[in-house]
């Protein structure tokens, strides 16, 4: 089984509640800058927000020299204890969703916990689970 956070066809309003839930849940901090998903606005034209989420492709795990990113229950999860903060995964991530924050040496990675999903008021986020061949 594979599991990932993904988006629906709904339009994001830019509220960043998902980021607040994410950072509070994972870091115990009220700080959107420590979230494992990104919101980027394109204004004035065409006038939309892009929600940047981890697609669980596993490229990061392939390049990690200390095997700090491993698959657990169908999700690529970063072990912050093992991570040496070398940054290899950050540059390797094809989607630019290994997030960084000046206050923490390790990257911040989505673990598809789904906590943000019910708090997205626009129903933009969902968890996708798929059986693997």
């Amino acid at each position: 089984m594979s599991r990932k956070l993904t988006t629906t066809a709904q339009a994001c309003s830019g509220c960043r509640l998902c980021q607040l839930v994410c950072a509070l849940g994972h870091f115990d901090e009220n700080n959107v800058k420590k979230a494992a998903l990104g919101i980027r606005g394109s204004f004035p034209a065409p006038g939309r927000y892009q929600v940047r989420v981890c697609v669980q492709c596993g490229t990061c795990a392939e390049v990690c020299p200390v095997e700090a990113i491993t698959r657990r229950d169908g999700v690529w999860v970063l072990d912050r204890e093992l991570c040496t903060a070398c940054g290899a995964c950050i540059s390797a991530c094809p989607w630019g969703v290994m997030f960084t924050h000046p206050g923490t040496p390790q990257p911040i990675k989505c673990d598809a916990c789904g906590d943000c999903v019910p708090y997205c008021p626009r129903e933009v986020l969902r968890i996708a689970e798929e059986a693997e061949e």
């Binding site: 509220c15 901090e29 800058k33 034209a45 006038g47 019910p118």
Partner: protein, 614 residues
């Protein structure tokens, strides 16, 4: 990081004359008595603006402040408050803005930004956590709001939050506005005019540190409950799609829609410019502020001469003041003017009011063809509205005089135009016609920045309890004047309560999780009453003849009956005005001239205002 929970813990002071800055710890006593946001703005302005200081001079302060709840995981915590001695009125001036500025400022570790002095050359301010820099903005001077925001984001990074003035602010138009996030404005009282006078084109903020909350797990748990409550309220699905403009039909039904410079309270084309017209015809995106589950921003696209034009809004006030009040009966026309005013950096409320005033002057021959280069100006004509808007922003020709606002313009134009200059204290009245709504009229008369609705949106009360009734109206206005501005002190938006019926006291429930301090809702309201009396004392301090006459309504409301519609024939008799004010002053503990009594001031801990000390 600060040990003061719920706060960034620091005050950033920037002296634009010297090009220097300093960082001070946030005063704990101030935090406890004035909470934050509007409370900090009022307290700091009272203390720091020297008596009678020129609003456009270096001694005036422009203060921006977040609240203790701003930036937290709770509904609509994106609000920042801004204030200065108002160049529009000479008295206390403030405005509020949503978007992401408050969160960003607190994440950088500051609750308050104080701007003082005047830069020698156009500049912009960068605040990037601890890095503070004043940079050259000569090549941004003259640029529109949207262009400035785009250019600064390209230069600094998309994750910077920008507050900028447009050309109107640079030209010191008295009703210039600050724009942020491509469509959020701090519109009223000429705060952007002060920014223009300081030659500060923009402020760009990025903060990464976050701020400490007393109990993060309690914030998460309580916040989740608050959001679930909102998701379950009918208004969550019913109000959000139309936002503030959804109320347009109702305001017309009750004959309170300012139309053609407040000549009447009913606009025949209102259905073509309201919330439904916006959603059906021009909407691109429901866009909201930080942490908002009910995004009221209606981001729109129209076509102008074959080109796409984007604008956030029109929200209700723009629909009323640019639509009904200028007689524009097509939503595309209203959105077009909205886009032009936003980009020029002009408040659409005062802007719509001033343009409508000019149109009436033209129709009555007070503004003559020789003043307009032979151009015929009339209500309902998009070209007239756009032409006046551009003249005002550039201060060209007749626009130079109109850029001073309706009070000053009427004084110079003469011809009896002061009888239809619709302002209170020199601030143009916003989008409600209250001749048959005494509570709403009193709200406008006593609002602490001048003719603005948002301190006490009492019209629903008038309609609910009887519109001819006077008793009880002052009490309700006072109650609202404490309740509504409290949101501006806490740093959160009122709309979950006002529009979606979310119980406001809930914010007191989450207060200890954020700040570590338990405060009752009544206690928080008391802080708001303190601030209301303090802003009144700001007027007393800075305006020599301040008193009752400053609270009088525009002549049009007392002298002239509403011309048509459901409220046709109604006016606000002077005797009613006197009753309302007497009642209001008495209940407030003010004397009959409208000055807070020493007893009241002492009771609220405002003794320092009695000596005139800061």
């Amino acid at each position: 990081m600060s040990d003061l929970m719920g706060y960034g813990g620091r005050v950033l002071r920037v002296d634009l004359s010297r090009g220097s800055h300093s960082v001070e710890p946030l005063d704990r006593e101030m935090a406890s008595q004035y909470l934050g946001g509007r409370g900090f703005v009022a307290r700091i302005l009272y203390a720091e603006v020297p008596k009678g200081a020129d609003p456009l001079g270096p001694e005036n302060r422009l203060v921006m402040a977040a609240g203790p709840l701003s930036g937290s995981f709770l509904p609509c915590s994106g609000k920042l408050h801004l204030g200065a001695r108002s160049p529009a009125t000479g008295g206390y001036g403030d405005a509020n803005i949503g978007g992401h500025l408050a969160m960003e400022l607190k994440h950088a570790g500051y609750d308050v930004l104080i701007l003082e002095g005047t830069a020698a050359e156009p500049c912009y301010l960068v605040v990037d956590d601890d890095l503070v820099a004043i940079r050259d903005a000569r090549d941004l001077w003259g640029e529109g709001s949207f262009g400035t925001e785009t250019r600064l984001k390209d230069l600094l990074g998309e994750d910077f939050q920008i507050a900028t003035i447009g050309p109107a602010g640079e030209k010191l138009v008295k009703f210039a506005c600050i724009t942020h996030d491509f469509g959020r404005q701090a519109g009223r009282a000429g705060i952007a005019t002060v920014m223009g006078a300081k030659r500060l084109k923009a402020v760009a903020i990025r903060g990464t540190r976050g701020f400490p909350v007393a109990d993060p797990s309690a914030v998460l748990a309580t916040g989740k409950t608050m959001f679930q409550t909102i998701f379950g309220l009918p208004g969550f699905r019913e109000w959000t799609p139309y936002g503030t403009a959804g109320i347009t039909d109702w305001v017309n039904q009750v004959g309170a829609f300012p139309t053609r410079n407040f000549q009447t309270g009913f606009f025949e084309d209102h259905a073509a410019i309201g919330g439904k017209a916006i959603r059906d015809r021009i909407l691109v995106l429901d866009k909201g502020c930080f942490a908002c589950p009910i995004p009221c921003g209606k981001y729109c696209r129209i076509e102008v001469d074959g080109e796409e034009v984007f604008v956030e809004g029109p929200e209700y006030e723009t629909v009323a003041m640019v639509g009904g009040n200028c007689g524009l009966g097509q939503i595309e026309a209203v959105a077009h003017v909205n886009a032009v005013m936003d980009d020029l950096g002009m408040d659409t409320i005062s802007g719509g009011n001033v343009v409508a005033f000019a149109l009436e002057c033209a129709e009555r021959g007070i503004i003559k063809p020789s003043d307009t280069g032979g151009r015929r100006l009339c209500f309902g004509d998009l070209d007239s509205v756009l032409w006046l808007t551009r003249c005002i922003a550039a201060r060209e020709g007749i626009g130079d005089l109109l850029a001073e606002g309706v009070k000053a313009a009427a004084a110079r134009l003469g011809g009896g135009s002061d009888r239809f200059a619709v302002h209170v204290k020199g601030l143009e009245v916003s989008g409600y016609e209250p001749r048959h709504a005494p509570a709403m009229a009193l709200a406008y008369m006593t609002c602490d920045v001048g003719g603005h609705h948002n301190r006490a949106w009492a019209i629903t009360y008038d309609v609910a309890v009887g519109r001819d009734r006077v008793e009880g109206k002052a009490a309700r206005v006072i109650e609202l004047q404490h309740l509504r501005p409290l949101f501006d002190m806490l740093g959160v938006c009122r709309f979950p309560w006002v529009e979606v019926e979310f119980p406001p006291e809930t914010y007191a429930d989450i207060f200890p999780a954020v700040t570590g301090v338990k405060r009752s809702w009544a206690d928080l309201l008391r802080c708001s009453e303190r601030v209301w009396n303090l802003t009144r004392m700001f007027w007393v301090r800075h305006v020599p003849d301040f008193g009752r006459v400053w609270d009088l309504p525009p002549a049009r409301w007392t002298e002239e009956a509403i011309a048509s519609g459901p409220t046709q024939g109604k006016l606000l008799p002077p005797a009613t005005v006197a009753l309302l004010l007497d009642d209001y002053y008495r209940l407030r503990g003010w004397d009959r001239h409208g000055i807070p009594t020493p007893t009241k001031l002492k009771e609220l801990g405002l003794d320092y205002t009695l000596t005139g000390a800061g």
